[in-house]
């Protein structure tokens, strides 16, 4: 086993030490059960809008749990290692900085994303036996991933810049809640005809675009599918750019 895989295994064991993995897997699988309380009937066939609406309701809580895992893993995994000097010790082994950060991000963000994709699905399909709109499912996963990539990138950059886990956590929380509040305000203005702020804020929170596109907030705010796709993609590109910037900063700037 190469040094990278060995280190990845250790990182995964650290990030998902018992009972973190079990607890989050259980909560993610349990979250769609809240649909039962809201009680709509999903026995009919689904259109795109219905499928998106259903997935937003069913997977919303699981997406938030996914975000909590990101907060925990990036701030307490990467940030804490940098803070305590463990990173410097690891880098004395045959492991490049890029591979070190890649392993941290795979364990801290990619694995939680896989958990979010897989674990809620049994209950999602149990509640909607005729749900066959896999395109909507992939779209929803993509929207969540694009939105959270920016948070991951920013948290990683802050962790590398400050070498403190707590600062990285605060930055992530601040960005998340700021985007939620900004979305609410931007929606207010968008409903009165000024969509510029709404589109700008949607880069941080692309799900709002699709909620408007499918007219889940009423017919007064319309967003075309091309605009929604373009801005979601732009959000993902910004997130990827931030993550790549974190790699560059770690390899060339950060002094351990």
């Amino acid at each position: 086993m190469s040094a990278f895989w060995r280190f990845l295994k250790i990182t995964v064991q650290e990030d998902f030490r018992s009972p973190v993995a079990e607890l989050f897997a259980f909560l993610m699988a349990l979250a769609p059960l809240t649909l039962y309380v809201s009680g709509p009937d999903y026995s009919s066939s689904f259109t795109d809008a219905q499928a998106f609406s259903y997935l937003s309701s069913a997977l919303g809580l699981s997406a938030f749990l996914f975000l909590i895992l990101i907060f925990k893993n990036v701030s307490f995994g990467l940030g804490s290692d940098l803070e305590k000097g463990v990173t410097a010790s690891f880098l004395t082994f045959p492991l490049s900085r890029g591979k070190y950060l890649a392993a941290k991000l795979i364990s801290g963000a990619l694995l939680p994303f896989l958990m979010f994709m897989v674990f809620p699905l049994p209950v999602v399909f149990a509640f909607a036996p005729r749900f066959g709109n896999l395109g909507a499912l992939f779209l929803y996963w993509g929207i969540v991933a694009c939105g959270y990539l920016i948070i991951i990138g920013l948290m990683t950059l802050v962790a590398l810049a400050t070498k403190r886990g707590a600062t990285s956590l605060i930055a992530g929380l601040a960005l998340y809640f700021a985007s939620e509040f900004a979305s609410a305000f931007a929606l207010f203005f968008a409903l009165r005809g000024n969509k510029t702020a709404f589109y700008a804020v949607s880069l941080l929170n692309p799900s709002e675009l699709w909620v408007s596109h499918y007219k889940m907030l009423g017919a007064s705010l319309t967003v075309s599918s091309s605009v929604a796709y373009a801005l979601t993609l732009a959000s993902g590109i910004i997130g990827v750019a931030l993550v790549l910037a974190a790699f560059l900063v770690f390899e060339r700037v950060v002094q351990l």
């Binding site: 060995r6 650290e14 699988a29 059960l33 259109t47 463990v86 049994p122 036996p129």
Partner: protein, 269 residues
């Protein structure tokens, strides 16, 4: 690949919500089966705005079902509809939907939400349109109640139809596959967890088979996470130790060979 009991545990915790979902009550009656006091009321033109239908119907629930899960369905079915129109369904003053415009044919309208809840999903309305029925759902837990619903169509050129009420027990339709699938996943989880525990216990046996067992014997607790810096770096240290041991053994062998050669040539007695 070493099996950890945690893989089994993960399967178990994922199967548990599915098992819970499969145990939730599902449909027990078709809508309309429990209808009592349903009223067929012809729609009538309400001035220049179009049609208006008012239904006031006392509905007595069937006492043989659980009233906590009762929901009221209001069906609106319009026929001979033409021109552009918008349809609004009211229940008292707390509920109203404006439905999409339609140019020809039969307009079916639907709405699905409790008037006491915030947030109405337009998607559900469209789903109802596909189903061809209009219904408004209200949760009821009374054995006898009076329903007052109003359906209004305005901006239409002419239409007719019926509005009627019915009542049914309706909950989420959980797939019948949920129970067997959850049981299969749980069984797989139990098997994996047991296998992992057994493998872990076997790994705890004392190393009595010589130094070469160091590679083959699994660690004492496969699922036990590495704790602290020492545990984190231990695999690297072990790797480095193995390399140095091999090097040392090689050197020792070469030394032995050298001694043997020296003995053979008589240099060393």
């Amino acid at each position: 690949m070493r099996i950890s009991y945690r893989y089994g545990l993960l399967l178990l915790v994922v199967a548990l919500p599915l098992l819970l979902a499969s145990l939730l009550p599902t449909y027990v009656a078709e809508s309309g089966d429990l209808a009592a006091g349903a009223a067929d009321v012809p729609l009538f033109v309400n001035g220049s705005t179009g049609m208006r239908a008012v239904v006031m119907s006392p509905v007595v629930a069937n006492s043989s079902v659980d009233l906590d899960r009762y929901e009221l369905l209001l069906y609106v079915n319009l026929t001979r509809f033409s021109g552009e129109a918008q349809f609004v369904l009211y229940n008292g003053s707390s509920l109203g939907w404006t439905l999409p415009r339609s140019s020809t044919g039969v307009l079916y309208a639907a709405a699905n939400a409790s008037p006491t809840r915030f947030g109405l999903g337009k998607a559900y309305i469209e789903r109802g349109l596909v189903g061809g029925k209009a219904y408004e759902v209200a949760e009821l837990n009374m054995s006898e109640h009076l329903v007052n619903a109003t359906a209004v169509v305005y901006a239409s050129e002419g239409a007719s139809g019926t509005v009627y009420l019915s009542e049914s027990q309706r909950t989420l339709p959980v797939s019948p596959l949920a129970l067997p699938v959850s049981l299969v996943i749980m069984a797989s989880g139990v098997v994996l967890a047991a296998a992992g525990l057994l493998a872990g216990r076997r790994g705890e046996l004392p190393r009595s088979r010589g130094g070469s067992d160091r590679e083959a014997a699994p660690s004492t607790s496969p699922a036990k996470p590495a704790a602290g810096f020492k545990a984190i770096v231990s695999p690297f240290c072990a790797g480095a130790r193995r390399v140095s041991e091999k090097k040392w053994m090689k050197e020792e062998e070469e030394g032995e060979r050298g001694l043997g050669a020296s003995r053979a040539c008589g240099a060393i007695p």
